[in-house]
């Protein structure tokens, strides 16, 4: 039995899906009253479709829409333009779903949903946007096709086969739109000075470091799995992976601060060692610091400030995803650029016990030996690294050294810096990240908040600022259970998607576009001079070609299989062909019965009549011939071909 479908019902289903997608993309951003209003609207709209007799209250809906727009406009401020706009759009979308009578109403719904998805990209730059966009493209194809049908012929009823063909066509379009979208994305013209960039709202930032390190406080960060930045570079040896961020020079007994005494400089330090160049993709943060591998030689970022303590700061907080290039020299020493050393020697009162201990430990040694000895002292038992039960009191350092002997990097680094200063050696704390997970496939380091670390720099007259890390090395995975490790690996594997999203979509700009076009044009102009390696071509492309050919053949066979006739019709065709060969072609105007009687050869005519009888007895009962009938038809055909019918 043929099944029939009303196109307008299917159109409505697609329309609700699109509206809901617009809603989902902004659900977490808009206020609860708006969410509720939208859900109620959709619910009422579906109810209205199921029972068309429900009253529609068009006027009420229109007044409500006007009110929503006015309220939305009133909430605009210089601070917040996008969010009130989105909320208004969402409310309008819900109302429009209730009141859709004409094709233009449907188009408005799609436009509103599209605007919501677009707006959500202003509010956040999540990878989920890509998902919403993809699904939206796939829904929009069929929806607009059905809407075009509805406009030309309202409430059209089609058979299932027709509906399938229409939907198939409508879904094929998004499939082609996808790659074209990507191509266009990379080619659309970019400007280097966007005018309305203020509309882009700062993203959710992670706090991470601040300008002070309070003993025991960093612990929160070290339990945080969120990503801070990615650095695209070759794998480096593990002990070189110190990501320098901030310098803390002032200690008050409990916390370390950045005194702000560092001077902005332009000169680049003289460094010796292996240099690496890399790109950093920084997630949104609250501070201005840019991280770089020790020792940073150069960072390329607009309006960057460089300080004499070898730290780098942007003018504004880095509350959007940014990218910068950096060059570092892998060394633990730096000559220094003639800073005022007095501030690196200051100590608060009340650290006498530690001073005494330092004196006892290193009495009489030179600065280099002193620093080395202190580091070795702290690295060995009874000192132990832990993130739990950290000493927190008015004098946490005393508690750490003389009682608990358990602490995290802050305690170890603070102790060493204080001891160094007490021995007259300028010392400071460096805050940054240690290590990172190297993603082999993506070719980058992923640095998480939990990699946060603090270490010490001591100023040695012969070497300059030299890095010392007094924190006992802990096996990285030791504090993780097997499950945690598994999920960590899984997360890092999936991280590559996010990485490519950031790298190729979020941070794609005029500069990258220019580079892409240049490299394309180089390749195109280079093509003529390239000698085509035919041998290799065969090796690489023949398998590919054969795969493509196989796919095409299978596709065509599928088409043939789908388009071939049913079994009984094929038998009939064979029958007619056989008779034609025997010199009895069927005239087009002649029915089968008449034809079988018109055959002059008596034997053939008899066989043909029998064939036609069996065939028609099934055909006019609208059923397919059973196995017996088919056998009989085949036998007659065989007799006909062998030339001895009904013998």
């Amino acid at each position: 039995m043929k099944r029939w479908h009303r196109l307008d019902i299917i159109l409505n289903i697609f329309t609700y899906l699109i509206a809901s997608l617009g809603f989902l993309s902004t659900m977490t951003l808009v206020g609860i009253p708006y969410r509720l209003a939208f859900i109620i609207c959709i619910f009422l709209a579906v109810a209205g479709d199921v029972r068309p007799r429900l009253p529609k209250f068009r006027l009420v809906l229109q007044i409500l829409a006007v009110i929503y727009v006015i309220v939305g406009l009133a909430r605009f401020s210089s601070q917040e333009i996008v969010l009130p706009g989105m909320e208004t759009l969402l409310a309008l979308l819900g109302l429009k779903c209730l009141d859709k009578n004409y094709a233009r109403d449907y188009l408005q719904i799609y436009a509103l949903a599209l605007l919501l998805v677009a707006g959500s990209s202003l509010l956040s730059l999540e990878l989920s946007f890509f998902f919403y966009l993809g699904v939206l493209i796939f829904l929009l194809g069929p929806a607009i096709v059905l809407m075009t049908y509805e406009r030309v012929k309202p409430r059209l009823i089609v058979s299932r086969e027709e509906l399938t063909a229409i939907l198939k066509q409508a879904l094929l379009m998004p499939l082609l739109v996808m790659p074209l979208t990507l191509l266009l994305f990379f080619l659309l013209p970019r400007t280097s000075y966007p005018v309305f960039s203020f509309l882009n709202r700062p993203a959710q930032t992670s706090s991470g470091f601040s300008d002070q390190v309070q003993l025991g406080n960093i612990t929160q960060i070290q339990l945080d799995d969120s990503l801070v930045f990615r650095a695209v570079m070759e794998k480096q040896s593990d002990d070189a992976l110190y990501w320098r961020g901030m310098v803390f020079d002032e200690f008050d007994g409990v916390s370390w601060r950045d005194s702000g005494a560092a001077l902005e400089v332009r000169q680049v330090p003289r460094l010796r060692g292996k240099s690496v160049s890399y790109a950093v993709y920084l997630e949104p943060v609250e501070y201005q610091t840019l991280f770089a591998l020790e020792k940073p030689l150069y960072i390329s970022y607009r309006q960057l400030r460089r300080f004499d303590d070898q730290t780098f700061k942007a003018r504004d907080p880095l509350n959007r995803k940014i990218t910068y290039q950096a060059v570092s020299v892998l060394t633990d020493r730096e000559a220094g650029v003639g800073e005022d050393m007095r501030r690196y020697l200051k100590l608060p009162p009340g650290l006498d016990k530690i001073r005494d201990l330092a004196g006892r430990l290193v009495g009489g040694k030179g600065p280099g030996d002193t620093a080395a000895a202190l580091r070795e002292y702290l690295r060995k038992p009874p000192f132990r690294y832990s993130l739990k039960k950290l000493p927190q009191s008015a004098s946490p350092l005393d508690d750490f050294i003389f009682h608990s002997r358990t602490g995290n990097c802050e305690y170890f680094a603070s102790t060493m810096a204080v001891m160094l200063r007490s021995r007259g050696i300028p010392a400071r704390l460096i805050g940054g990240y240690r290590g990172g997970y190297y993603h082999e496939m993506g070719g980058y380091y992923a640095i998480q908040q939990r990699d946060a670390h603090v270490w010490v720099e001591a100023y040695l007259p012969e070497h300059g600022w030299t890095r010392y890390d007094p924190t006992p090395t802990v096996p990285v995975e030791s504090d993780r259970t097997i499950w945690k490790q598994f999920f960590f690996r899984l997360r890092m594997t999936l991280d590559i998607l996010d990485y490519y999203w950031n790298r190729h979509v979020i941070s794609y700009d005029l500069q990258q576009q220019y580079a892409l076009l240049m490299s394309l044009s180089r390749q195109v102009t280079g093509l003529s001079s390239v000698k085509i390696p035919w041998k290799n071509l065969g090796r690489h492309f023949l398998p590919l070609l054969s795969v493509i050919a196989t796919v095409i053949i299978i596709f065509n066979m599928g088409l043939w299989w789908r388009q071939r006739l049913p079994r009984d019709r094929r038998l009939l065709q064979r029958f007619l062909r056989v008779l034609e060969k025997k010199g009895w072609p069927r005239p087009v105007y002649m029915g089968l019965e008449e034809f079988s009687h018109s055959i002059g050869d008596k034997n053939i005519s008899m066989a043909a009549r029998e064939f036609v009888r069996i065939y028609q007895s099934n055909f006019y009962r609208d059923r397919k011939p059973g196995r017996e009938d088919r056998e009989q038809l085949r036998r007659i055909l065989k007799d006909l071909t062998s030339g001895s019918p009904l013998s």
């Binding site: 094709a103 599209l114 998805v117 677009a118 990209s121 202003l122 730059l125 946007f129 890509f130 966009l133 493209i137 929009l140 194809g141 607009i144 096709v145 809407m147 075009t148 049908y149 406009r151 030309v152 012929k153 059209l156 089609v158 086969e161 027709e162 063909a165 229409i166 066509q169 409508a170 379009m173 082609l176 739109v177 996808m178 074209l180 979208t181 990507l182 191509l183 266009l184 994305f185 659309l188 013209p189 970019r190 400007t191 966007p194 005018v195 309305f196 960039s197 509309l199 882009n200 979509v505 979020i506 941070s507 794609y508 700009d509 088409l559």
Partner: protein
């Protein structure tokens, strides 16, 4: 949105703009493809009279092998013929009301096929050639000023016998019996005389043939005369009475079949005059 993308520098909006542009481009390609390889043909009734609205069957053929045709319409001056869907190698039919205002041979109307498919952003048109098909429009049948002398008059003249066999009228000959002849028509006398079964052959009851002569019709208006001839032929044929026609130099002998009627009417339709 394009302006928004350029001015916010937001790549996600760029992505949206790219998607919309792609949709436009793809819809252009699909729309173009949708009206390719279509063919139109008309099925017209045998008799079309000038000034009378005639239903024509419009067949729209989709000659493509795999690709169905979607949402086609043929915009005409009075109505739109809509074909929502045509399967590959399929045909869809619609009824088109057409009026030929003058007698003669008319080429079939050239209808452009249009389609808003897929997205209704653009409507694409294409002219569809209907290969050499022609419609013959007969003159408008008008009783004219000759009504009394001819049409009604002739009816009252009574029946004459036509020289063709039938079962009514008078016996015109005797022939051999053929299986199937009714028993009561057997000519027993002749059968007895010859020794084989003989059957009586009867003539058909028929009216006296009417010979219409264009030149002898009163009046000077050629079209009016043709219209009247058309009326007479249409009124008498088929089967009422045999009609012959003298038109210009041509003479059509009397006949009474439908084919004969169409032949005469066609002659009227294409008559060029002096």
């Amino acid at each position: 949105m394009g302006i928004a993308a350029v001015n916010t520098g937001n790549n996600l909006i760029y992505l949206l703009v790219a998607a919309l542009l792609s949709f436009l481009a793809i819809s252009g390609i699909f729309g173009r493809f949708n009206i390719k390889n279509l063919r139109i043909s008309f099925l017209a009734p045998d008799e079309i009279y000038a000034g009378c609205e005639t239903p024509l069957f419009v067949h729209l053929h989709n000659d493509r092998r795999h690709y169905p045709a979607f949402l086609l319409h043929l915009p005409t001056s009075r109505e739109e013929l809509i074909f929502p869907f045509i399967f590959p190698r399929g045909t869809a039919t619609a009824l088109y009301r057409w009026t030929g205002y003058e007698r003669g041979l008319h080429p079939v109307p050239t209808l452009p096929v249009a389609s808003p498919f897929p997205f209704g952003f653009f409507i694409r048109y294409q002219k569809l050639p209907a290969h050499g098909q022609q419609l013959t429009v007969f003159p408008y049948p008008r009783r004219g000023p000759f009504r009394d002398e001819d049409s009604n008059h002739t009816r009252s003249r009574g029946d004459t016998v036509r020289e063709e066999s039938g079962y009514e009228g008078e016996v015109i000959s005797v022939r051999d019996y053929r299986p199937g002849d009714p028993l009561r028509f057997i000519h027993w006398k002749a059968s007895a005389r010859t020794g084989g079964l003989k059957t009586k052959d009867f003539g058909l009851a028929a009216a006296e043939p009417l010979l219409l002569d264009f030149a002898s019709l009163p009046g000077r208006d050629q079209e009016a005369k043709l219209s009247h001839l058309c009326f007479l032929i249409k009124d008498s044929l088929p089967d009422t009475r045999p009609v012959g026609l003298k038109l210009g130099g041509e003479i059509f002998g009397p006949g009474h079949s439908r084919e004969h009627k169409l032949k005469l009417l066609r002659a009227l339709a294409v008559y060029q005059g002096k």
